[in-house]
Symmetry: C2
């Protein structure tokens, strides 16, 4: 999709600048809506991301995007997959193109057990539900547990897509402190005690234990059983979201939270990062009674997951070296992580960042006084994109942070992107030092039509 982004910046640059300025203006293009009075209350929490319009610009090939979480697929054996798929359709087409069961194909659920065994999970295929990406599993778990006003605990920061789901179900997200070793057990204990004393109903602890999105950190081994025990003791189900767990750069995967107490945890997995997101296949592993409700909720939402997608992945798992493919992805992403960290050290010494041991992201803390969200239009004009930290909090925190992803661009593009980013950050930093906090923000917000030479 963004293959062309390897090209050098081209003469469309002034257009990017103008488009970025226009995208940064809110409220444009709204039409009259005759159904405005009829929407459900829950839609008030659904709003387009403020940075959405900007990303349409950021996807242009001349922009280095350090924003997206698209996996690098060029390494897949596409010819082999094409041939397997042809065979599948020729030999079992009438099954692959038919409706399937709401829970998902038994054969695939058995194979999912093999994948999860790599993280110490022992389970039965009857407790697995196949979903339309693990995003749908997030939606379904929230649907069956969360009433409006219920509390969901999440790390600070947390995955933007999960925060969107919690908002759509009118949950109240309370963030819990995390550090370089992940979620802090003492902070969790305190939050639960405080909320309990306030009489709040806490339904879920949502956590990404491995190679956190966006924070890039991993929950330490010794903290894992403690987190599970604390949540269970307070009657709160753990929602363990683990799309990146097999993409560690050093050593074996850590045991899943699920492995410590299968009755206390709903585990979410995905083929999007270890194989390919285009099939939209993820899964939930849940305590049996929860699993039964997840299937009912999924049947109501989509009838059944795609048989074609499920059988394609099942065929891939049974005939290709999927473990070898994951190893090769790890090498690619490790090299890109190293390029990212090296470039940051070289060009952005005024900032700090986390050192991810796997996954797709690093979390950057800007020098005091800088506002990553306000700076984004200028960055896009400077032909580099990132996600501002505010996207990853439910409560407006995160202005001095940004998420940088190293999964998709080549190491050369990463170097170039960080170099461009450093120019923007350092310019802003100079303004702040000269005029004080907020000056840079105001200057950028006043920039309606950047001149071409800013690029």
């Amino acid at each position: 999709m963004n293959e062309r982004s390897e090209q050098a910046p081209d003469p469309t640059t002034p257009t990017v600048a103008a488009a970025a300025a226009a995208a940064a203006e809110p409220g444009r293009g709204t039409r009259l809506d005759p159904w405005l009075a009829n929407y459900a209350d829950r839609t008030h929490g659904m709003k387009a991301s403020e940075i959405r319009a900007l990303f349409a610009v950021a996807n242009r090939p001349e922009v280095v995007s350090l924003a997206g979480g698209m996996p690098f697929l060029a390494g897949l054996p596409l010819d082999n997959i094409a041939e397997l798929t042809q065979k599948l359709l020729t030999e079992r087409g009438a099954v692959a193109l038919q409706y399937g069961s709401g829970q998902g194909e038994e054969a695939l659920r058995e194979q999912i057990l093999d994948v999860m065994a790599l993280e110490g999970i022992r389970a039965h295929s009857d407790d697995v539900v196949v979903t339309t990406g693990s995003q749908q599993a997030l939606d379904l778990v929230t649907r069956i547990f969360v009433d409006p006003g219920d509390v969901v605990l999440a790390e600070a920061p947390s995955y933007v897509g999960a925060l969107g789901v919690f908002r759509a179900y009118q949950a109240d997200v309370v963030h819990v402190e995390m550090d370089d070793a992940g979620l802090v057990p003492e902070a969790l204990e305190q939050a639960l005690s405080r909320l309990g004393a306030e009489g709040r109903r806490v339904k879920l602890l949502y956590t990404v234990p491995n190679f956190h999105n966006p924070a890039g950190v991993t929950l330490a081994l010794e903290r894992r059983p403690r987190i599970v025990e604390i949540a269970r003791r307070h009657g709160v189900l753990v929602l363990e979201d683990n799309p990146y767990g097999l993409l560690g750069f050093d050593g074996d995967p850590l045991p899943a939270l699920h492995s410590y107490d299968p009755e206390a945890v709903v585990y979410l997995g995905s083929f999007s990062k270890t194989f390919a997101p285009g099939y939209r296949v993820g899964w939930a592993l849940a305590p049996h009674a929860v699993r039964e409700r997840l299937v009912l909720a999924s049947e109501s939402a989509i009838l059944c997951p795609s048989m074609m997608s499920q059988l394609s992945i099942s065929t891939y798992l049974s005939t290709c070296d999927w473990r070898g493919q994951i190893k090769s992805f790890r090498e690619v992403y490790r090299e890109r992580r190293d390029a990212m960290l090296g470039s940051l050290a070289e060009h952005l010494p005024a900032a700090t960042w986390t050192v991810p041991a796997g996954g797709f992201y690093t979390w950057v803390t800007l020098p005091a006084g800088l506002d990553a969200q306000a700076m984004l239009p200028r960055a896009v004009t400077g032909l580099v994109a990132y996600v501002p930290g505010t996207a990853f909090y439910a409560d407006g925190q995160g202005q001095d942070h940004m998420r940088l992803s190293f999964c998709y661009p080549t190491p050369e593009r990463i170097h170039e992107g960080v170099r461009r980013l450093a120019t923007v950050v350092n310019d802003e930093h100079d303004l702040v030092r000269m005029f004080g906090t907020g000056a840079a923000t105001q200057v950028v917000r006043g920039t309606q039509a950047p001149s071409p030479n800013q690029a």
Copy 2:
């Protein structure tokens, strides 16, 4: 999947009888649920269909299933589709296997306009949202419009999958009378006036205008503009669900409700019946502001629809004779409809039924005193399955009805299935005539272990 159902009944018959009896017993296999106190209120409306366990039995090859809505796929050019798919993956694999946009692929949305043009719809591709089957579109529309306690109007009877969605969002479904010409405009007007006078908030009119599931009837041409006008005048959005519209047996499709007032209608379409359900691709066409919210809701629910599925269908539409394929499906289903109606006339003269001019289903009214739900275990023991009418009402009506589908079994199997069904119905009818209403039901409910010779 059920290819083997062409086989004659085999010696496993006694097992079917025992399994049917066991499946008819409620409450078996329940385990203790440590999270029982934590579920959301909306889960109280989510329950497994009472007939679900029975259908596991009904799917055995020796049972003629007149229950399911699986399309007949053996007529598809599978080798051709296999080759196209191989080419797609070889040439555009890195796009097909990547994330896509939440709204769906522009190229496919353009092609969807061509499909809808056959029913008189003129629209812009920007107002189309691609969904994971049209079931997901049903879920999303309900999600953005329905608060708990809001009213949704639906035909009596109505599609079981839609009723499940409305229940999951805690809507109050109010049925509106339909006759052989579809939804009755006067009944709609009365219902809306009455509900308005009661101060109820009516959010949606859900309707399946063509070849209704389960009723088999079609909304008359002259009623179409009236239905749209009445709903709009009362401030109620029309939700037009049209999976079967192109599968008419006589003449051209009727104009969609959407064609009369695009601002008053959300139209749902699907490739599941005109091509194949295994991709899970459907769509919604909505007024622009509604469409914007549908995309946000869909991104929250699944991030994006499957690119692999979308590009597979897009390729099929652009390179295969999809109009010719639909014609060939029509011929197949017309022949099966004729087999169904002929068999009913021959074997079940005591019942009445609708005469569908397209689609998959006929709606049977049993002789007075018979209870289709209570009779189902005996029917399955007699190696034939159907869906009892109660599944299609939100309020417990429909006991004297059953839905028979003619889409999947061959004409020979349909004849055999109706013959078996007639044996069961006529036996029950004899009991009712001898012992009065309710007698048959009690006899069946007391049958815990049918003897093999009942089959």
